[in-house]
Each structure stands twice: as structure tokens, then as C-alpha cells.
């Protein structure tokens, strides 16, 4: 296994820059998720490591060795594709053995390794079948197996679970995570599903517009999103964001909007003062907000738009001016559409962003 370094990696298609000056390090044995909306450059980044695309600038190092100009076959990496890319005219056993065959491994050894991988993935009974005779989940396992047999330095995975149905996806997610723990493999995993990234990865690299927005452990990304993009992308439902104006009276800092005013705690007030301009944005997760049915001090007035029970939680969609908040409440709360409510904030879990730079303002 190996460490992968991205150093000022750039990729342009003509005048379009798909990946802009991306630098980060994937530690030996780490599971890193590249996450972002479609078109953010995450798959391009993966293909750059694989060697399926050429870099425009910067370098990629695996175990300290620059691999920019190596052919994919010489990079000692394995990849699992979104559509699995199993060779339709080869049996499962032949698919699994193909990477070894291309490396001129002895037949007997290929047989052993294929059987070992099949045992590990519980697909021994499928070895003589063709890909078209397998279910989606089984194909997924074969694709994984084909990557496994080679014992490569790095595993690349391009949305490997996105073609599975919801139930199977949850199961495979757990299996993949377990497999990573057992093998202690270096994995770079591309997904657009932030939940997948949160649950599986040691570290998340959040990308948008070709730029690396934040690279950190999932819980840190969740708790301290670097900017508005990360805040709104990570977490489900998305973080509630409320534009406000900073006002200071008698040493106290307030956040105000149309028809409401919120007194900020000392810590948050100090942070708000560091904003470049008066324009700030308040951010709050659905679980950090309280819903009051009567006027409460420190709470801002709002109106219920609709109520979505999901079983163990109920999500109330609440209108604040022209913004809609999503707030989770216990399922036994009786609330109805068009009911006037007041939203209370947990100041310890409030996020502050500079509206101009869109960056998070650190609270210390």
C-alpha cells in the first residue's frame, strides 16, 4: 500500500479548467472520499490518478514516485467502475484472472488467487457464469474482486455503489468499509453522495468547480464546514442558511433581517465582528433549532409551510421571510401548515459565514 500525493494538480480541456491547482495527500492505508456535485472535477481527478487522462500541470506521486507519464498499466493501481466494466465475453473467473494474465502470472497462481478473491467476496459459486447472468450486486462484487486479485498499491473507485438499489447499497457500503479495514488498503473513492462519503471515509475531499473546497475528516467537515458550499453540500437535510445584517448596539452584536432580530452570544458576536462587511450568513443544522408555538425571547417569528413525517423524526418546513428552513422535531409534536411559530437557536451550534467571501468565520 502506498501514500498518494497531489501537488498543484491542474487539468484543462482547452480553455476550460476542470481541475484547478488541487493539492492533498492520501496517507498510506487511508480511505479518502472525493465528493461533490456532478461536474465538480472529482471523476477527472480519479482518471488523472488512473492515467486515463493526462495532467496539464502539477504532479501526482505514488509512494513518492512521480507517475505523471506512466501508462495506466504501469501504475500499479486498480479501479472499480461505476458500471463495473466487466468483460461481457469472459466468465467471472476469466474476468477476475484477466489482470494477472496480462501480467504474465503463472496459470496455477492465477487460479489460486482467483479462488481466494472469490472466497473473500463470497462469489465462488458464480465463477463459471457470464456477467449478464449476474445481479447488480453480484457484478459489483466481481468488479471489486478484479481489483482485489492484483494487490495493487492504490484502489480507485468511481461511484461503485450508485447503480445498486437502496437496500443493497447500504449493505455494500458496510462491506466495503469492512473490506478496507481488513486489507488496510489505500482507497480513493469518488461519490456524489455525501452520506456515502461521511459513513465510509477516513477523510473527505469536497470539490466544487474544479477546486478543492475542504479536505478533512468527515466529522470535522460536518461540524466546521470551510465555506457556504461545503455547509450546504454536506449533511442531509442541508444546513439552513439565513442571510442577515450585523448590527452593534451598546457593545452587543445583533443579527437582523426583515421582521426579526437575534442577539448573538459573546462568542458569536466576536466572530461576526470579523466579517469583512455587515453582511453575514447564519447557518444552523435542522437538529440545532427549536420550534416554539408561542412567542419566545431569542426566537425569530416564522410560519409552518408543510410537515413531513418520516417515522422516527418529523421535518417541519418553515418560512422565514422568503427563506425556507427545515427543522426536525419529535414525531409526536402536533403542528400544522400555516401555523405561526418561533424558531429558537442553539448559539453553541450556530455557524457564521462572511457573505462576501462565503468563508466560514471561525469562532474561538
Amino acid at each position: 500500500m502506498a501514500q498518494v500525493d497531489f501537488v498543484n494538480v491542474d487539468k484543462s480541456y482547452g480553455s476550460f479548467r476542470a481541475v484547478k491547482d488541487v493539492s492533498f495527500t492520501v496517507g498510506d492505508g487511508e480511505f479518502v472520499a472525493l465528493v461533490g456535485p456532478s461536474g465538480c472535477g472529482k471523476t477527472t481527478t480519479l482518471n488523472l490518478i488512473a492515467g486515463l487522462l493526462d495532467l496539464t500541470g502539477g504532479e501526482i506521486r505514488v509512494s513518492g514516485k512521480v507517475i505523471n507519464d506512466l501508462d495506466p498499466k504501469d501504475r500499479d493501481i486498480a479501479m472499480v467502475f461505476q458500471n463495473y466494466a466487466l468483460y461481457p465475453n469472459k466468465t467471472v473467473a476469466q474476468n477476475l484472472g484477466f489482470p494477472l494474465r496480462m501480467r504474465k502470472v503463472a496459470k496455477a497462481e492465477i487460479k489460486d488467487k482467483v479462488e481466494e478473491a472469490a472466497r473473500l467476496l463470497d462469489i465462488t459459486h458464480l465463477l463459471d457464469r457470464y456477467p449478464r447472468e449476474l445481479s447488480g450486486g453480484q457484478q459489483q462484487r466481481v468488479a471489486l474482486g478484479r481489483a482485489l486479485v492484483r494487490d495493487p498499491q492504490v484502489f480507485l473507485m468511481d461511484e461503485p455503489l450508485s447503480n445498486l438499489d437502496a437496500k443493497l447499497r447500504v449493505q455494500m457500503r458496510a462491506e466495503l468499509k469492512r473490506f478496507h479495514q481488513d486489507l488496510n488498503a489505500t482507497v480513493i473513492y469518488v461519490t456524489h453522495d455525501q452520506l456515502e462519503a461521511m459513513t465510509m471515509a477516513d477523510k473527505m475531499a469536497v470539490m466544487s468547480g474544479g477546486v478543492l473546497q475542504q479536505y478533512d475528516a468527515p466529522e470535522r467537515v460536518f461540524e466546521e464546514p470551510a465555506n457556504l458550499f461545503v455547509a450546504s453540500f454536506v449533511g442531509s437535510p442541508a444546513m439552513n442558511l439565513l442571510p442577515a445584517t450585523r448590527v452593534e448596539r451598546d457593545g452587543t452584536v445583533f443579527a437582523t433581517g426583515e421582521g426579526w432580530e437575534l442577539t448573538l452570544s459573546d462568542r458569536n458576536g466576536a466572530a461576526a465582528r470579523r466579517s469583512e462587511t455587515d453582511a453575514i450568513i447564519l447557518g444552523a443544522r435542522h437538529s440545532s433549532l427549536a420550534l416554539h408555538e408561542t412567542e419566545t425571547s431569542g426566537a425569530i417569528p416564522a410560519r409552518i409551510y408543510t410537515v413531513e413525517p418520516t417515522g422516527d423524526l418529523t421535518y417541519a418546513h418553515v418560512e422565514v421571510g422568503d427563506k425556507t428552513f427545515v427543522i426536525s422535531v419529535p414525531p409526536d409534536r402536533r403542528i400544522a401548515a400555516d401555523q405561526p411559530v418561533w424558531i429558537g437557536f442553539d448559539q453553541n451550534k450556530l455557524h457564521l459565514f462572511d457573505a462576501k467571501t462565503e468563508q466560514r468565520i471561525a469562532q474561538d
Binding site: 488512473a50 492515467g51 486515463l52 501508462d71 495506466p72 498499466k73 501504475r75 493501481i77 486498480a78 479501479m79 467502475f81 461505476q82 458500471n83 466494466a85 468483460y87 461481457p88 465475453n89 484477466f98 489482470p99 496480462m102 501480467r103 478484479r146 492484483r150
Partner: protein, 284 residues
């Protein structure tokens, strides 16, 4: 659901139409076969015998035996035709495969224009190009060689082959090649070991199409070849059997033998051939 199985007026009319059409399509070939079993004398009876009184294989024995002049000549033509058609097919596939692959996978400048200029060829059947090609072949010293025919026949099949194969390559996911390259293939190995086998049906289809067109071609063979020993079957048939137009059973037997390879090939591989014909014009 019921109405689907109800016999309607339309069904009955359809069956009558189809039966008539089937008779129209098949009867001439049946008559060719019947005539070929007659003796030269029996064929010239009037009214003609719809079922031969003394069916015999006399014509076939003569045509297929190298012991007499007619047979030797006929077999010679057959060998010539096999050689020209096979060479056309092999070269055609060798040229069409890389071109179709490039058109499907690469995005080089002028790709679209080039592709449609290749397709445009479909619109220009053989004969218009006959004169300039004849002059060109004369100038290159290729008249009366098979090279001139093979080069020309190549272009008959190419547009269709390229179009058809491009459809196949379009449908093979790029990821398969990428996977192969990561699994240790060079670019060429990825094509040869992964893509080629998957496009086999397309290659078979284009090969049959090339073979049948070359086998049946008449005008160019008529114009480019003049040495009696070198003629292909269609021209040979015309020049050496139709001249003595009294031997109709012989001519019918020769026509039948000439049709056998293409019809057999076609019937066995009908699915692919139909695909070759309709691909492009019809795409869901």
C-alpha cells in the same frame, strides 16, 4: 387482449397478399431449378413441362466436372470469383475496423465531415465511376488484374461497414477499454482482446455484405477483365453460356450454382445481414 387474437378482415387480406407475394418471389427460382433438371431437348418442348418427365443431373455433372471444357471453364470462373470476393472481404474488414473505431471514439477535427463524406458514397452506385476508373486502371496498368476489381469492390462495402461498425463501437462502453488498460493492457491489446471480440457480430455482418456484393458484381468485372481465363462468374456466365442461348437448362444450372454460396451464407447468417442492411437508417 382479445382483439389481438381475433381474425379480422385485415388479417385475411394480409395473408392473401403475403401468399401472392411469396409465389411471386419464389416461383422464378423454382422454375430455374426445374429447368436445370431437364435435358436441353426437353426444355424446348411446347408447352413446357411444369414437372420434368426425365429429371436428370446432366447439366450439373457437366458444369462441375473438370474433365470437359465447359466444366473446366466454369470451375475456373468459380475459383476466380472466390478469390476476388475473399480478398475484398478480408481487406474490407481490415480497413473498415480501424476507421469505424476512430469515428466512434476519437474527436479529431473534421470527424463529422469525413464520416458523412464516406456515407455519401452510398449514394453513388458503381456505374457512374466506371469510365474514369477504367482510364485510371489502364494508366496504372491494372486493367485485366484482380487488383483493379478488389480496390473498386472495397469501396462498395466500406461506407456500410464503417457505419455499421461505428454503431457497434458506440455501444461498447469506453470503461471496458479503460478497465483493460488498468488491468495491464496496452492500448492495442485493449482493443484486440476486449473490443474486437465484442464487435464480432458487426464484423461478420460487414464481411458477408462485402462478400455477397463482390460475388454478384457484374459491370466492373465486365469492363476491367478481358482475359477469358480471368473472368468472374457473372461475366463468365454471360460470355460463355448465354452466347449459345439455346442451352437454357445449362444456363439455369449455372445460375443456380452461382446463387448457392450467397444464399446459403445469407440464410445461415440472415440476422447479421439484415442488421447490416438496416443499421443506420433505422435506429431506435
Amino acid at each position: 387482449m382479445n382483439s389481438r387474437f381475433r381474425i379480422t378482415r385485415w388479417h385475411v387480406m394480409g395473408w392473401i397478399f403475403l401468399a401472392t407475394l411469396l409465389f411471386f418471389a419464389v416461383a422464378p427460382m423454382v422454375w430455374m431449378l426445374i429447368t436445370s433438371f431437364k435435358s436441353q431437348f426437353a426444355a424446348l418442348k411446347y408447352p413446357p413441362e411444369l414437372i420434368p418427365q426425365n429429371p436428370n443431373l446432366e447439366q450439373y455433372e457437366r458444369l462441375l466436372s473438370p474433365k470437359n471444357d465447359v466444366g473446366r471453364q466454369f470451375l475456373r470462373y468459380m475459383l476466380n470469383s472466390i478469390w476476388v470476393s475473399t480478398a475484398t472481404t478480408v481487406f474490407g474488414v481490415a480497413v473498415a475496423v480501424p476507421a469505424a473505431y476512430a469515428f466512434a471514439r476519437f474527436r479529431f477535427p473534421g470527424r463529422k465531415a469525413l464520416f458523412f463524406s464516406v456515407l455519401f458514397r452510398n449514394m453513388f452506385p458503381a456505374v457512374v465511376f466506371l469510365m474514369p476508373l477504367f482510364i485510371m486502371m489502364r494508366w496504372m496498368g491494372l486493367v485485366n488484374t484482380y487488383t483493379s476489381l478488389i480496390i473498386t469492390y472495397l469501396t462498395f462495402g466500406l461506407p456500410l461497414s464503417i457505419w455499421l461498425l461505428k454503431g457497434f463501437y458506440d455501444n461498447i462502453p469506453v470503461e471496458l477499454e479503460q478497465a483493460a488498460r488498468i488491468d495491464g493492457c496496452t492500448r492495442f491489446q485493449a482493443f484486440y482482446m476486449v473490443v474486437m471480440p465484442l464487435s464480432a457480430p458487426g464484423i461478420i455482418a460487414t464481411a458477408i455484405y462485402s462478400f455477397i456484393t463482390a460475388w454478384n458484381e457484374y459491370v466492373y468485372a465486365l469492363t476491367f477483365l478481358n482475359d477469358d481465363e480471368k473472368l468472374t462468374l457473372p461475366v463468365g456466365l454471360q460470355r460463355f453460356f448465354a452466347e449459345y442461348a439455346t442451352n437454357w437448362p445449362g444456363l439455369m444450372a449455372a445460375s443456380f450454382i452461382m446463387s448457392v454460396p450467397v444464399v446459403v451464407m445469407f440464410l445461415i447468417l440472415q440476422k447479421y445481414f439484415v442488421r447490416a442492411l438496416t443499421e443506420g437508417a433505422v435506429k431506435a
